[in-house]
């Protein structure tokens, strides 16, 4: 009897292992496909942030920066670096997932995934990992560019920096995914990044500390979620922040959990992808 139980247990275990292996392969395949996609069009995906950020560093850092003086005790160009890296990571993570997932919907190649036995969480994770890879790669590129303009830059808290970078890339990849699920046209995937995301990031302390604002605007700025992301990252890179780090990290993680649940619910329901 015990031998039969052991045999059954081993058989179930083997099936489970086989299934885990199959899901791992499918997740790896989707992630590689996503990374290959943005690397294939590197002129559209990797070069523009490097060029734009170089211009920011030249104009606001080297030309105008010395006239502004210091910000929270740092050279202006040094103060700007974390903000500009965050700006690039947020927009690229978001744009990667929103454009990639909408494209597979538009080209109907989403059917390749829906017909396959890939679980929904694995489909979501594959797209998010694609967005995270692009976000991190862009972050590294922009940091590399910033070192050309400010070679003495040292990271105050590398662990916090990496954690915030990862969490931010995950958070905005998830947001991009939800945007793509509801998008019905290419206009729908550019409206939110252009009219909501970018203004909030610019007003979220990329270029300035909210301490320089009048009380009213400072209070209004506190309602901007981007402020927490940018400042937590600045705490990691420079050791200064306008907001509480533990509160910000808690909020970022909460949002990631809420958005992940929402994405999985939408996938299960088939919103925007199944008739």
């Amino acid at each position: 009897m015990r031998l039969i139980d052991l045999k059954n247990y081993l058989s179930k275990w083997l099936i489970q292992m086989k299934n885990n292996f199959r899901v791992s392969v499918s997740l790896w395949t989707l992630t590689v496909k996503e990374v290959r996609r943005f690397l294939r069009i590197w002129v559209q995906t990797l070069v523009p942030p490097a060029v734009t950020m170089s211009l920011y560093f030249v104009i606001f850092g080297s030309l105008i920066g010395p006239r502004i003086g210091s910000m929270d005790g740092f050279d202006y160009i040094q103060y700007m670096i974390p903000g500009l890296i965050m700006l690039s990571v947020i927009t690229n993570s978001y744009n990667n997932v929103v454009s990639s997932f909408y494209s597979v919907k538009f080209q109907k190649s989403i059917e390749e995934l829906l017909i396959s036995p890939m679980p929904n969480w694995s489909i979501l994770l594959g797209f998010v990992l694609g967005g995270v890879c692009r976000g991190l790669l862009i972050g590294i590129i922009v940091f590399g560019v910033s070192l050309l303009f400010y070679p003495d830059f040292t990271v105050a808290n590398p662990l916090l920096t990496i954690v915030v970078l990862l969490l931010t890339a995950i958070l905005f990849s998830l947001m991009g995914f939800i945007n793509a699920v509801f998008a019905d046209s290419f206009d729908d995937i550019s409206i939110i990044p252009t009219f909501i995301l970018t203004p909030l990031i610019y007003l979220g302390g990329v270029f300035y500390s909210i301490n320089i604002l009048p009380d009213l605007w400072r209070s209004i700025s506190m309602a901007n979620p981007m402020l927490y992301v940018v400042n937590t990252f600045r705490e990691g890179m420079l050791g200064v922040s306008d907001v509480s780090i533990s509160f910000s990290l808690g909020m970022i993680i909460t949002f990631i959990l809420v958005l992940t649940s929402s994405c999985l619910y939408l996938l299960k329901k088939g919103t925007g992808i199944r008739q």
Binding site: T29, K108, S116
Partner: protein
């Protein structure tokens, strides 16, 4: 062991815009069958296939693939199923090889294991020489082949093809027929929808006709064709005629001065017609069946369903 490759019970689909696509259809396809699902545009064929492949959500009913209910064993059902959709559904900017290897990966087959299979299937479908070209540069026929390669890479036991030869030239269509016959012979159950009724007649053993979301016929091809009471024959004449001869019991019409078309009732012998034609000194050079027998039945059934 499941008796059927596909079992559908009371399948219903009502779209968000209140269009009723399926009104509770029942369908059984035996293992190893080559089954044709025919119907006019908007009859419910693609909705049925969409539900089986989980591209469309069903409103009610049950669907099982080799005994695996798509409500409870969806992933198992999916792993046994390959679907060739009506519309091109691969990334047009990727290389042919990458598309098929990626599809294998989605089924949990790692690249190293998939490569020999990919090479084999691409060679069989004449795509191996084009493996490194971007899919968007392929002609329509090659894109169709690529769709089939993708659907077969995980060696499904049930292959569903939604109008696979639409817009494909005759030569390629016949090549595809021979390929599909071969994989069916090797044990893969095939369900085919097509607008080319000749295709269904050539390939399929059993047939279902769907119209306005209901199954109006589900039988063997032989039985269905046996229901035809009248067969059409086309005669190529040796000498031109001015008008069609009148022979009792055999309605004749002249398509052109050298082509005579006869409608022969199944209970009449064609020898009698030949004798009468010989008496009238009409010489026949050659003869063929009038295309397409299935088409007549199809139109008849769909029309009677509309009444």
């Amino acid at each position: 062991m499941a008796e059927y490759a596909l079992e559908i019970n009371n399948l219903q689909k009502v779209y968000d815009n209140n269009i009723v696509a399926l009104k509770g259809i029942d369908l059984k396809v035996a293992k190893g069958d080559f089954y044709a699902l025919l119907g006019p545009n908007g009859a419910g064929k693609s909705s049925t296939i969409g539900i089986i492949g989980s591209l469309v959500t069903k409103t009610a009913g049950k669907v099982s693939v080799f005994g695996n209910d798509i409500d409870t064993d969806l992933n198992k059902a999916k792993s046994l199923l390959g679907v060739v959709s009506q519309e091109i559904n691969f990334s047009q900017f990727e290389k042919v090889l990458d598309i098929v290897v990626t599809q294998a990966g989605f089924y949990g087959i790692p690249k190293s294991t998939a490569m020999p299979k990919v090479e084999n299937i691409l060679k069989r479908l004449g795509l191996w020489d084009k493996r490194n070209v971007q899919a968007r540069t392929l002609s329509g026929g090659y894109k169709r082949r690529l769709m089939i390669a993708k659907a077969l890479i995980h060696e499904p036991q049930l292959l569903i093809l939604d109008e696979p030869t639409a817009g494909v030239d005759i030569e390629l269509r016949r090549e595809m027929w021979s390929f599909l016959k071969e994989i069916n012979k090797n044990g893969t159950t095939i369900i085919l929808t097509t607008h080319y009724l000749e295709e269904a007649e050539q390939l399929c053993r059993n047939i279902g006709i769907i119209d306005h979301g209901t199954i109006v016929a589900d039988t063997s091809m032989k039985d269905l064709l046996g229901r035809l009471n009248v067969q059409g024959f086309v005669f190529d004449l040796d000498h031109p005629l001015d008008e069609a001869p009148v022979i009792e019991g055999f309605p004749l019409k002249l398509e052109d001065p050298l082509t005579l078309v006869a409608a022969v009732n199944k209970d009449r012998s064609i020898n009698a017609l030949f004798s009468e034609l010989t008496k009238l000194n009409i010489k026949i050079k050659s003869m063929r069946n009038e295309a397409n027998r299935l088409e007549e039945l199809f139109i008849e059934m769909v029309n009677s369903n509309e009444k």
